[in-house]
């Protein structure tokens, strides 16, 4: 356990993954995450947890720190246009969490792919005010 923690700490603080020691990190959409990479590595769960309560209880649907928004950029189709599932090692969240040995149960309930993966169900990519705001550049 201690070993695991130190590995995680090593990756978080030195960015060791770039040198091949850490998990394979699938390529994301866009240039920059909603927070600096180092901040996300250390605190992404805080952001998601906070957003979770804000959204569920208060209806605050900002996308900056939402789980859906994570998936929008970080879960991308392969060459054949297929989106990885959370059960597969090529899934962004799964990959790192398996490496870090921390079980997450988000995808027991939540969709594990971005909206566009559900192309067949076009009703779910409807135009809404939120969608309009989603296209704003991230502050």
């Amino acid at each position: 356990m201690l070993f695991m923690l130190s590995v995680v700490a090593l990756i978080a603080f030195t960015g060791a993954s770039a040198e091949g020691l850490g998990p394979f990190i699938p390529k994301a959409k866009g240039e920059q995450c909603v927070e600096p990479t180092q901040v996300m590595r250390e605190r992404h769960w805080e952001f998601i947890l906070h957003q979770r309560d804000e959204t569920v209880h208060k209806g605050i649907r900002t996308t900056r720190h939402s789980l859906k928004n994570c998936l929008e950029c970080h879960v991308q189709p392969d060459e054949e246009g297929r989106f990885p599932r959370s059960s597969e090692p090529t899934h962004f969240c799964t990959n790192c969490h398996v490496f870090a040995g921390i079980r997450i149960d988000c995808f027991e309930c939540h969709a594990d792919r971005p909206h566009e993966a559900y192309g067949a169900i076009s009703r779910h990519s409807r135009l809404s005010l939120n969608d309009m705001f989603r296209k704003r550049p991230v502050r």
């Binding site: 649907r61 559900y118 939120n130 705001f133």
Partner: protein, 240 residues
């Protein structure tokens, strides 16, 4: 928004009227995604049972599709957020058909009994289960007078982005909260009923005296199911 106003100013200006017009005839209730919901609105449904057809299941089908409620071939444990109820008067035999779902009470028994506070009522009147804190004790199902809740008895897959659901938690009609928050001003069931030409289900703001739902309730009256319990339901029925 290109007029130099910030989004919030724009919405506040429009929000005073409660709605903004995107195109003639198309209204969107504007909710700033950054602002919490308030009790200035109270969302509800009005069901006219005279317009509801007994052989029509469009609202149920639409709900199942919207939230991907699958038929697992086990009717006793399969989730039903909305169901068609047939009510027959033994005296004379008059039969009516109506959709039954979470009644979004102002004083919900499910919220009272929930040990962790996972069952809760949003400021705008929508009763929800926070599935992150639901421990699956099912006391809310014992308490609900409308049998509106379902327990998820098995592992689920293929959930939709707007309808997270999973094993071991209790769930029920969310009044299509994802559509409400997106400003769509309707629910899957109301939409489907409208599309089928029956128009038996109307969604709207019960707090706004000028909303269609308020006007109709004012003019024709509407009843609560189990009004004797004093729950002040957000779903009202006409011609019961």
């Amino acid at each position: 928004m290109s007029l130099g106003l910030t989004r919030r100013e724009f919405l506040q200006g429009a929000g005073a009227a409660g709605a903004l017009t995107l195109a003639p005839g198309v209204f969107l209730y504007a909710k700033d995604p950054e602002a919490p919901v308030t009790d200035a609105v109270r969302w509800g449904l009005l069901v006219d049972t005279r317009l509801c057809q007994e052989d029509c299941n469009a609202c149920v089908d639409a709900c199942n599709e919207e939230h991907n409620l699958q038929d697992l071939g086990r009717p006793e444990t399969d989730a039903q957020w909305i169901r068609k109820l047939t009510v027959r008067d033994p005296l004379g035999g008059r039969t009516i058909s109506l959709p039954m779902m979470c009644q979004h009470c102002e004083n919900p028994p499910c919220v009272d009994v929930c040990p962790t506070g996972a069952s809760f009522r949003r400021e705008d009147g929508i009763v929800l289960v926070d599935k992150h804190t639901c421990i699956g004790c099912r006391y809310c199902m014992m308490a609900c007078p409308y049998k509106a809740r379902s327990f998820i008895h098995e592992n689920l897959t293929e959930q939709l982005p707007d309808a997270p659901r999973g094993k071991g938690c209790v769930e029920s009609c969310t009044l299509c909260v994802h559509k409400v928050d997106a400003g769509e001003n309707t629910t899957a069931c109301a939409e489907a009923c409208h599309k089928d030409g029956h128009q038996a289900i109307l969604f709207g703001d019960l707090n706004d005296p000028d909303s269609e739902i308020s006007k109709r309730i004012r003019e024709f009256g509407a009843t609560q199911i189990r009004a004797d319990l004093g729950l002040n339901t957000g779903v009202r029925y006409q011609n019961l």
